[in-house]
């Protein structure tokens, strides 16, 4: 017995010693690899989102402490982020060493050859290749940032889906449930159909008014001065009705039904009509709301249900300092039309937007080597779980099984499980090399439909024509 005890003790000691040696070894590798670049400052730009803010506040400091390489990370508005990054890369000024590449813009960046092939660059610089960094550890979301040869052009730093959130405290309140059933003749529940969603929205708006509460039935990301409304329509509402790829047919280079497109088709019109029809049940700020304001409104308890980007799910459900509804957040798949889920399961469509982004190195960067170290640092497994808990983003397959995430999952009503199991039903943006250009063309029409200046049919018909004209100008038309 004594011998066994001594043996176990020795084994444990050896294991601990080995672990500390490995840690010391890893620490030593970073110090050694980064030595030539210590004191260098690398600069990056990104949208101010929960995952980006974690990078700015936590990971950058850790990396600097470990390597002596300074990270200046600018988190700014979405519009500014794009302007700054594109101008820098186009003019080859080299201000930024790493830029945020949102999934939907990667095709434009690759078409312009803005980005360094990270797989190749790491292969060409074996001294800079960190052993624990493994491209195959990423979820399939990383595939959006690869070329045809499977080479990676961006290290995924956030990935999430736009989900249906609802307030459990309202949906599970016995009095409210009884009132709903009395009014509508069926039980109150998180919506599974569009009709049910609308009924819920109508009911809670009336309920809020009768109780003199600041409560409305649904969020609507309906800003009339921002592309956010176009995105909600094209990437969340449209797909859930069965409108895919923005209704643009890449083969014919057209958005018009007459030429194989679908932006002015019946499905698109029905989707837009339905969505705009929800505005009377949305908080008054809806027509000024981008994704940030939608998350804030929901967190303030002003909407009973809504489509909310998953990156916000964690803080809305758990952060008392920012959310009034912690512990009461329910998470479900967004509602879909009949046959849409089945089509998604068959790979013939998708039910909503799988959003996210990566950090890439522009060719214009003057500090590519130091930046490669930084990207591997944020792409290594050991930093993933805490980052995922803070920003509701998961880019590594293994992170789903981390105990921290399992614990967080229960607080966010199974959001992470949904992301893992049903994430494949969602999809990233279509592979357009003209993403922002065409979206800018569509924006004013969606805004005018929201304002009631055009009907959904008129707005989409005019939008489809304008898109075709722009595609012609850009050289992607028929």
């Amino acid at each position: 017995m004594k011998k066994i005890f001594t043996l176990v003790l020795l084994l444990a000691f050896a294991l601990l010693a080995n672990m500390s040696l490995v840690t010391a070894d890893h620490h030593g590798w970073w110090v050694e690899a980064a030595a030539p670049y210590a004191g260098t400052t690398i600069r990056g730009v990104s949208e101010s989102t929960p995952p980006s803010n974690y990078v700015a506040d936590v990971l950058a400091a850790q990396f600097t402490e470990l390597t002596g390489i300074n990270v200046e990370f600018e988190t700014t508005s979405w519009d500014q982020m794009y302007s700054k990054a594109i101008n820098d890369m186009e003019a080859n000024t080299g201000i930024y060493d790493f830029v945020y590449i949102e999934q939907d813009i990667i095709y434009s960046y690759l078409a312009q050859d803005y980005l360094v092939n990270l797989t190749q660059f790491a292969g060409d610089n074996p001294d800079l290749a960190y052993a624990s960094y493994d491209e195959s550890a990423f979820t399939s979301f990383a595939d959006y940032f690869k070329n045809a040869d499977g080479d990676l052009f961006g290290v995924p730093m956030e990935a999430f889906v736009k989900v249906y959130l609802y307030r459990k405290d309202l949906f599970e309140d016995a009095d409210i449930m009884a009132a709903f059933e009395a009014d509508y003749g069926y039980a109150l529940a998180p919506a599974e159909t569009f009709e049910q969603y609308r009924d819920n929205a109508e009911f809670f708006t009336a309920y809020g008014e009768s109780m003199d509460m600041d409560l409305w039935g649904t969020t609507v990301q309906g800003s009339t001065g921002h592309p956010a409304s176009t995105y909600e329509f094209l990437e969340s509402i449209g797909p859930s009705f069965g409108l895919y790829n923005w209704g643009i047919n890449l083969e014919t280079g057209s958005a018009q039904s007459a030429n194989g497109g679908a932006l002015d088709g019946d499905t698109a019109v029905a989707a837009l009509d339905y969505w705009v029809g929800l505005l009377p049940f949305a908080p008054p700020e809806a027509t000024s709301s981008t994704w940030d304001e939608v998350a804030s409104s929901f967190a303030a308890g002003r909407a009973a249900q809504g489509w909310v980007y998953g990156e916000n799910a964690a803080w809305i459900a758990t952060d008392d300092s920012r959310s009034a509804i912690t512990g009461n957040v329910g998470v479900r798949l967004p509602v879909t039309a009949e046959g849409v889920i089945e089509a998604a399961e068959m790979g013939d469509g998708y039910i909503g937007y799988y959003d996210g982004g990566a950090f890439g190195i522009p060719h214009s960067s003057r500090n590519k080597e130091a930046t490669l170290l930084w990207l591997q640092f944020i792409g290594q497994p050991s930093v993933q779980a805490e980052w995922a808990a803070a920003g509701a983003r998961i880019t590594h397959t293994a992170t789903f099984d981390d105990p921290l995430i399992a614990e967080q999952d229960t607080k966010v009503d199974g959001y992470y499980t949904l992301l893992e199991e049903q994430g494949p039903l969602f999809a990233g943006a279509p592979p357009f090399p003209f993403h922002a250009q065409v979206r800018e063309i569509i924006d004013p029409f969606i805004h005018r439909v929201i304002l009631g200046e055009l009907t959904a049919a008129e707005g989409l018909s005019q939008a489809a024509m304008a898109v075709d004209e722009e595609l012609d100008r850009l050289g992607y038309g028929m």
Partner: protein, 290 residues
């Protein structure tokens, strides 16, 4: 001769800077305006397309709408600023209790950066959270939503601009009023002129150069307004002014060629407008000299 050479030598740094940072970019924008150039198009680089961009903007409903909106914004904002600025300047020529404090508070908005002005006003008027819509709804049952009603967005932009820039007009008017010699005013009063006649026949002619300069500056500012209105409403309905439209074409759409042509035309319209105003206010006609 030596004096002339020394003069040019002393001027040369300024001229070189102007040439590099003023004239060269203008020529570049002019050149780009005659090309099709979108970095995300299928074909790389600039493609000469003659006057196509200029022809396109004549039929561009969004551009024409932005010009109309900008004109409305400029007329109402500058008109209000001139009237208010004159009244305040008149007030400040007299003594009254708390004049120094009033002058400081009145001048404060001038010191705030436009982007901060936009942010402050956005916080004031954002539906659902801002105090202005809240109290308008509570007290007057008035639905005030700048994201939904374009006219409200436009008027809010006008009021914000008036709040920001009236102090500038007041200060220039005050400088002009204090520079008017007392004798002609007193003489007019002795001759029995009414207050309006004194203002119309004496004060206003003396004030004309200041007025002209102030209005010119404000017109140029109003036409290129972007930052504070962008902060306020994101260039939404009622606020998609020409400056914001140009920004959208050049940056998110990366349509550099078309954006350059709009910029050139906007500059041209500004110059023409200022010239017409100069003639109207100064009363100068063809052939007249100083």
């Amino acid at each position: 001769m030596r004096n002339s050479r020394t003069g040019w030598l002393l001027l040369s740094p300024t001229l070189i800077i102007l040439l590099i940072f003023g004239f060269a970019p203008f020529l570049y924008v002019l050149f780009v305006g005659f090309n099709q150039w979108n970095v995300f198009s299928a074909e790389d680089g600039l493609i000469f397309n003659g006057l196509d961009n200029f022809r396109r903007l004549v039929f561009d409903a969004d551009f024409l709408h932005s010009v109309g909106l900008t004109a409305r914004f400029a007329i109402f904002a500058i008109g209000s600023e001139v009237v208010l600025g004159f009244v305040l300047a008149q007030m400040l020529t007299r003594n009254f209790p708390g004049k120094s404090l009033f002058r400081i508070i009145h001048t404060l908005p001038l010191m705030v950066a436009p982007i901060a002005v936009g942010a402050i006003w956005r916080l004031l008027v954002i539906p659902g959270f801002g105090p202005v819509p809240f109290f308008l709804d509570r007290w007057f049952d008035l639905q005030y939503q700048i994201g939904t009603y374009p006219d409200q967005a436009l008027w809010t932009s006008v009021i914000m601009d008036v709040w920001h820039w009236t102090p500038f007009v007041t200060l220039t008017m005050l400088a002009g009023l204090t520079a008017i010699p007392k004798e002609p005013v007193e003489q007019a009063k002795v001759d029995g002129a009414s207050r309006f006649q004194v203002f119309w026949y004496v004060t206003l002619p003396f004030l004309r150069p200041v007025l002209l300069t102030t209005v010119f500056i404000r017109i140029m500012d109003a036409i290129r307004t972007v930052d504070e209105v962008w902060m306020l409403a994101g260039g939404g309905p009622g606020t998609r002014f020409t400056g914001i439209y140009i920004w959208r074409v050049v940056f998110p759409r990366t349509d550099y060629g078309y954006g350059s042509s709009i910029s050139i035309i906007t500059l041209y319209l500004t110059i023409v407008l200022c010239w017409l105003l100069f003639i109207a206010i100064s009363g100068r006609r063809k052939g007249e000299t100083e």
